[in-house]
Symmetry: C2
């Protein structure tokens, strides 16, 4: 990077918030994906004014600029594959306003999800999307990938909660959206920004809708001797007019992985459904009763609980699937190549069966779990990443997995985004995406090379190589 | 319009679906707004293939093209102010698929809202946005303006239910979005299209999320001797963690208008709140009890009912406000100049008070009612439209009303859109809107002159002149 640009960055941001050592640049080159690439410089802005000036500079000199929250992205969204400026947004972490009676809050992008919900809980409210990395991930990152998680079936995804935004585009800082719950006043650009993975602009503030916390929650854990039966259970719950607050599925590989790695009491089964109902106490009671009746003949065993400790244990087990999979076998890690495709809800059992067939065909291990209630499956391929042959097999298997997903009317990502990892399989309307990208970022400085811009060869940035 | 274009249209669409007589063109020049302008030709396509060919033709010859559903738009969205081709989309009215277990349906844009909900009700499901014109309006029109209505506080607006779309842009037909409940696979262009009022492309198919119908509904009608107290009631309900399925307000002018025009039993009051709770039977019972407690000291009188007949009567009264206002006095009509601004929920009582002050100052009558639960106010100015002086006063008053709304952090439209009527007061990020518009529609053929493209002088198309 030209010295002029570096000098000018030091004029904008105080030097203790600029990182240039090799060690720092190396560390900042990772996110939670399989990719790695070093930025030319890391800058930690404190205000939207600083971001504005940095972006202006980057645009003037055509330097790539990548925003990063907590680095929990699973598909390489925060990896600066063309170098340039990496913006560490965690310094902008103020909760600016909480307006309970107006049902919104205003936050900076570096606010941690769990911290926001702690603050909202004091008023009996919450920001409902529930990403698995919620204890550490930032709101800015959640907006960038349209994060959601376990409660999307009832509460929707981040996109459904973003009312307004301040964003810095290459041509300047703009505000759009509102502090009102609905809006028909011109193009709703904030909804386009959600899920755009930093390829259009840098979010510097967000206005988020909030919701009242449910009075009570209860959980049912149902075991099945066949994944198809579990899938039928999901379909029956939904067609029965229920909207549980979570409806999770785990296949045998995932159940075993958790049992091996964690001290959690789970039944042996081909598939588990973990179902949560929330609301008023009476409503929860009725809901659990209804679920019992629906699953009665399909499940082998159903456990019901509203005991806080047991519920916490079960959720710990569910959340532990991802790390546990990497301890399934020696020299094995879980790679997010297929990761979080979504299919129409009723296609889940068929999809899982097919994934298992594909895994058998290539002699690899594939574990599938996820948000059955909204058709969002986490499909993890377990391989020895240092074995070239293993990678080849995994890539072929994943190609077939995507084919199945698309045949079922599914999509590449339900909540983690496209980034680099899933870019080869993106199935959006590329032409229109490129028109919009070019209109807003003509010099292509905003997180270049991601999503629809991915080109063969970029996968060479694998961290394991 | 050039004869060549007309000849080519006859090649695309059979002649009984092309209208060129002066009477037809005149009739098609109206929507439910105060504007009127005649198209050059009206074409009623039957398929997305026909739409594709018509748009291609229009783009080739740079002819304006405006889509129209049932013509219920209140702000002139369907009025072809630069002539050209008017597409009557009501011929594309097939419900293509209803997938209860996958929580979606696929419809053509000309499907009438009420018809879709009749079909969904057979399965115990519904498409929740509830526009006032729901008995006649089309899904395509709802998407174009992001329609919502009374139940948005709990269920959200049309935007929150659009999962996928087929759309014809000037450069061709594309599909985006999904048949899954959430999606992080590239730019979510379908959310940008919702509310774009036909200025980007012509919707030819939509995939909509559906929800289970509530088991039961009950209603509370609370009267207040002061609009501020009614507003405090709204804030208290929301801060109390309730999400009623509707939370409507009517001021004195609206109450009187309904009582004059309709045979409906409403109390005399300065303001009324009409509150609906839905859900499981027990939940509704508890909800109504909680509302009674919250409003106890603020309201003069509260009526509770779950009697279907009385509830229908009350909703009839609420829905009758708009037509009733036009019968408030002789030679008076209600004009939608201010129409449906939104403010943060807690600002409602202050806003209504200010609107009343402004009305007094200009010696005109302003009635305000609307969706208090989401801050969306319908502010109708009652004037004799043939009196030039009256128009002047109304316009000045409306200017002041918008000023108040913006000072309170509000927006120009919560659900009706911008069109022509509200274009002078649009407060979105115009620069970015224009970049996107130009990227997708470089020849500016798609509903030109609306929203951010409005220029002074266009208001001369008033139907009353």
């Amino acid at each position: 990077m030209e010295q002029t640009i570096i000098d000018k960055l030091y004029e904008i941001v105080s030097k203790n918030r600029i990182f240039t050592s090799k060690a720092d640049l190396y560390a900042y080159g990772f996110d939670a994906s399989i990719h790695h690439a070093m930025p030319s410089i890391v800058v930690k802005p404190k205000s939207s004014k600083e971001v504005e000036e940095i972006v202006k500079l980057a645009n003037e000199y055509s330097v790539p600029i990548v925003a990063r929250g907590a680095g929990t992205a699973l598909c390489g969204q925060a990896v600066p594959i063309y170098g340039g400026i990496l913006l560490d947004m965690t310094g902008m972490n103020k909760i600016k306003e909480i307006r309970i009676e107006d049902l919104y809050c205003i936050v900076e992008p570096g606010v941690i999800y769990a911290k926001l919900n702690e603050r909202l809980a004091e008023h009996g409210f919450f920001f409902p999307p529930t990403p698995g990395s919620g204890d550490v991930c930032t709101i800015g990152g959640m907006i960038a990938v349209n994060a959601s998680g376990m409660r999307a079936i009832k509460y929707g995804a981040t996109r459904d909660y973003v009312l307004g935004m301040e964003i810095v585009f290459p041509y300047g800082k703009v505000r759009f959206g509102s502090r009102t719950l609905k809006n028909s006043s011109g193009y709703q650009i904030e909804r386009l920004i959600v899920g755009s993975e930093g390829t259009l602009g840098i979010i510097t503030e967000a206005t988020l809708r909030i919701s009242p916390l449910p009075e009570k929650r209860a959980v049912a854990l149902a075991s099945f001797n066949d994944v198809v039966k579990a899938g039928e259970g999901v379909a029956a719950i939904i067609a029965g007019g229920m909207l549980p607050s979570a409806l999770e599925i785990m296949d045998k590989v995932c159940i075993e992985a958790v049992k091996k790695a964690m001290d959690i009491d789970l039944p042996d089964a081909e598939a588990l459904l973990l179902i949560e109902v929330d609301g008023k106490a009476m409503e929860v009671k009725e809901g659990i009763k209804k679920i019992a009746k629906i699953l009665e003949e399909k499940a082998d065993k159903i456990e019901f609980t509203d005991d806080e400790e047991r519920m916490a244990e079960l959720w710990k087990g569910r959340k532990g699937v991802l790390p546990s999979l990497s301890r399934y076998g020696e020299d094995m890690v879980s790679v997010s190549l297929a990761d979080d495709m979504s299919v129409p809800i009723s296609k889940i059992p068929y999809a899982i069966k097919e994934f298992q067939n594909i895994a058998r065909k290539y002699g690899i291990i594939v574990g599938t779990y996820g948000h059955a209630g909204d058709g969002n499956l986490h499909t993890k391929v377990l391989i020895n990443p240092n074995d070239e042959k293993n990678w080849k097999k995994a890539e072929q298997a994943v190609d077939e997995i995507y084919k199945v997903v698309y045949e079922l009317g599914g999509i590449a990502s339900g909540e983690h985004g496209i980034g680099i990892t899933k870019a080869p399989w993106i199935n959006g309307d590329i032409a229109t995406m490129e028109k919009i990208k070019k209109a807003i970022d003509p010099k292509n400085i905003m997180n270049p090379g991601k999503m629809m811009q991915w080109k063969k060869g970029i996968i060479a940035y694998l961290r394991y190589k």
